[in-house]
Symmetry: C2
Subunit: 97 residues, 2 copies
């Protein structure tokens, strides 16, 4: 089966628009270049300010490694790093069905 990731991301106050633009571009690159990625969806919390959750599903461990090693993911690092309020919290789960 596959692997899911829920990544909780908090951004610095006032940087939401910049973060969303950067991440949306990254998500487009992920969808276009990673056959092993099945879901890569940014979502915005309705209850916590400046808080996002990325819903991700990968076919297998190799697909996660390919994602992390990709030029588009690495390339987005500096711009994301500039607005993140801390390291993302990653929850890994196993997909069923």
């Amino acid at each position: 089966m596959g692997i899911a990731v829920i990544a909780t991301i908090r951004v610095k106050p006032g940087t939401a628009a910049e973060f969303e633009a950067t991440f949306t571009a990254l998500a487009q690159a992920v969808r276009a270049n990673e056959p092993g990625n099945l879901v890569y969806q940014l979502t915005r919390s309705r209850t916590e300010a400046d808080t996002y959750k990325v819903l991700e599903v990968y076919a297998d461990e190799a697909a996660i490694a390919a994602h992390r090693d990709s030029a588009h993911f690495r390339g987005a690092g500096p711009a994301l790093g500039a607005v993140l309020a801390g390291a993302p919290e990653l929850e890994l789960l196993d997909t069923v069905g």
Copy 2:
């Protein structure tokens, strides 16, 4: 934009296989019958026993309503109710990009 749901579900000890079979069939029906549903993925926690998270993405509120009113969702109610250890916890978020 769309709407995402992270549904945390806990099942009674010893019912995981039954729950997974019931939910997998439900997920197949959702994917086959709900054009407004974009993601409906059951995942199993790696850290908490008998705990699952369903990653769901819908095009809009109408798609969520259609899901909740669907025969397949209502039809799975009794079988799911028999194995759930409590009401699911639902987190709604707004999709971005």
